[in-house]
């Protein structure tokens, strides 16, 4: 129990991660899938950020009037990494949403089962026997 309280941040990360992954896999709606994906990625961001926290550490900005004192800083590197990862995540979400728009134009739906039904009707129409041009 004590361990759970001491590591509660990781517990939250794992729960968010699983909720995100489950949403991606279980939802039929393409936008909801993207929401799940974003949640999943954000959980990983939180994982990195909570790694960076040093007990009792302050923000990693050099304290001017304390040059010779021992100041405990948090680790800034994971923050920088996650800044990059957030940019990547935004790009992924934006591209995903743009694709959903195009899918909605082409199939008239963003529900996976309806798209699948429409997609199956494509077989035989585009593939074979469309007049023997060959």
């Amino acid at each position: 129990m004590e361990m759970i309280i001491a590591k509660w941040n990781y517990l939250v990360v794992v729960m968010l991660m699983m909720i995100g992954l489950f949403t991606v896999m279980s939802r039929q709606n393409l936008v909801k899938k993207l929401i799940g994906l974003t949640l999943f990625q954000t959980a990983v961001f939180l994982f990195y950020i909570s790694l960076a926290k040093v007990d009792g550490g302050t923000a990693p900005i050099i304290v001017h009037n304390a040059v010779n004192q021992d100041v405990l800083y948090s680790n800034p590197l994971p923050h920088v990494l996650i800044l990059t990862a957030i940019v990547v995540g935004v790009a992924t979400t934006a591209l995903g949403l743009a694709l959903v728009l195009r899918i909605n134009d082409a199939f008239g739906s963003i529900e996976e089962d309806q798209i699948l039904a429409a997609k199956n009707s494509d077989y035989g129409r585009n593939d074979d026997n469309k007049g023997d041009k060959a």
């Binding site: 991606v24 990983v44 790694l51 591209l95 082409a106 593939d127 074979d128 041009k133 060959a134």
Partner: protein, 493 residues
């Protein structure tokens, strides 16, 4: 002429910088010229580096920040070999792409299509060259977002391309995120992200449980990107519905970089933790590779659409590469690298031919609709046959050399039953190739008669077909480079 010290960064920079220029250009011919020039310069740089490589590791500190603090680009036997393959195949496919992209993509999008094309190539080169575990994730996403855009351009011909692109985006993002989780665990234990530094520090780590979790996450994420069975599901649709030029480039180079990363993770980063690596290689990668070979081959036999058939067969071929890697010794990894080179040539050639046929028929090509096309398009079709024979591994072709080294590696590790399975799967792949041969050459010529073939399409195709024969006859050269690569990633430790 080229300063060798700058090669690691040049192969990445040429395509990446030109991508920005292409995106702004309204003239499609100039965009194509720039794309050709920049991939050509990339090939020149990578090839110069590979030829001049003396077994010494060339490190490039980006921004002058020395590793392990800054991001490091590394040119060694392995990264230079894969980089040359990527640069070479992307150069040839860029030349080939011109007339196909003009036919398959809307005119106002052509400049942007080349921009995405170069971003994909630059991203893949970055994956190969980087020596930083987190930087690798960034390049992974650059290439995969560009790839998604390129696949979705196939939506004009067939709306199913949009679904394929969406699925690749979601599955690919999950794979990349898995990789990042793994990197996070390694960072938590060691406090470093530099691959060479990780290799030194990981064995000293006292906590092994997080390392096993981290290693598993990294491998699982990369398996998704490399399309290893059973996480290959995005690949057949993505390659099948993408514009023909795009399928060619992707099939030739995209998964190769991820497979190379797999070798880097297992043999470079986790070099000092042999037990853990052995566990994953022997009990996860090896069975998955064997299953990939069979599932891919059987799905290809049952497939009726030509491009999807080739994509299914890619899954089997990726299985051969990872099978070599899963042996873990120098011979096995060498066989893997040999097949990375040869499969890039084989599938590049086959997809080029499929693209040429698609453009002529102006619709999706099924096996049935290929009837008599061998007689109608003899130049394209005969080059396609050479690549096809190379795929099943007939002697005097590159594919045969791959199989020989793979079997030699399997003999050395005394895996007799796997040799049996490899031989059996080669025989099975004869079935799907035979269906193509039968349709193309043994049926009467279609009523439309002979088709005028486009030299800009069949010349790159023939170049690739001839290289297939060249590497089948003169195998020593590829083998030497592959062995150097296997030693550079640190196999056999």
């Amino acid at each position: 002429m080229l300063d060798l010290a700058h090669i690691p960064v040049l192969v990445v920079l040429f395509p990446l910088l030109m991508a920005a220029v292409c995106a702004l250009l309204p003239f499609r011919n100039i965009a194509w010229l720039l794309a050709t020039a920049s991939t050509g310069m990339g090939l020149l740089a990578a090839w110069t580096g590979l030829e001049a490589h003396s077994g010494e590791r060339v490190s490039y500190a980006l921004g002058g920040w020395p590793p392990p603090w800054g991001i490091e680009f590394v040119a060694d036997g392995a990264s230079l070999l894969v980089s040359t393959v990527v640069a070479g195949l992307s150069f040839i496919s860029t030349i080939y792409a011109k007339s196909l992209i003009e036919k398959e993509i809307d005119e106002h999008l052509i400049g942007k299509a080349y921009a995405a094309w170069l971003l994909a190539v630059g991203g893949i080169q970055g994956i190969v060259m980087t020596g930083d575990a987190f930087n690798l994730f960034v390049f992974l996403e650059i290439s995969s977002l560009a790839t998604v855009t390129l696949i979705s351009l196939g939506g004009r011909q067939d709306r199913r391309a949009l679904i394929a692109a969406y699925n690749y985006l979601v599955i690919g993002a999950i794979g990349a995120t898995f990789y990042v989780i793994g990197v996070g665990f390694c960072y938590a234990v060691t406090g470093t992200l530099n691959m060479a530094d990780l290799m030194v520090r990981l064995p000293d780590a006292t906590a092994t449980a997080p390392l096993l979790v981290g290693f598993s996450f990294m491998v699982a994420g990369i398996l998704v990107k490399a399309a290893v069975f059973p996480v290959h599901i995005w690949l057949p649709a993505a390659y099948g519905y993408a514009p023909s030029a795009v399928s060619t480039m992707l099939a030739a180079v995209a998964t190769k970089a991820s497979i190379y990363v797999l070798a880097r993770i297992a043999f470079t980063i986790f070099d000092g933790l042999d037990d853990m690596v052995f566990l994953i290689l022997e009990f996860v990668l090896l069975p998955l590779s064997v299953m990939a070979i069979f599932v891919g081959t059987i799905l290809a036999i049952m497939e009726s659409d030509l491009k999807k058939l080739l994509a299914q067969s890619s899954i089997a071929q990726i299985g051969y590469i990872t099978l070599g890697f899963s042996l873990g010794n120098v011979l096995g990894v060498t066989a893997g690298f040999v097949h990375i080179v040869n499969h890039a040539l084989i599938k590049g050639g086959l997809f080029m031919a499929a693209g040429a046929l698609t453009v002529v028929m102006a619709r999706r090509v099924s096996i049935d609709s290929l009837a008599g096309m061998g007689r109608a398009m003899p130049i394209t079709s005969s080059a396609m046959m050479i690549c096809g024979l190379s795929l099943i591994g007939l002697p005097l072709t590159a594919g045969f050399i791959s199989k020989v080294y793979l079997v030699l590696a399997l003999v050395s590790s005394a895996s007799w039953w796997i040799i049996g399975l490899v031989v059996m799967s080669s025989a099975l792949s004869l079935i799907y190739l035979w269906r193509i041969v039968e349709a193309m050459w043994m049926q009467p010529m279609p009523a439309s008669g002979r088709v005028r073939e486009d030299p800009l399409i069949y010349t790159p195709l023939w170049v690739i077909a001839l290289i297939n024969i060249w590497f089948g006859v003169d195998a020593g050269r590829v083998f030497r480079f592959a062995e150097q690569a296997a030693k550079a990633v640190g196999a056999g430790g």
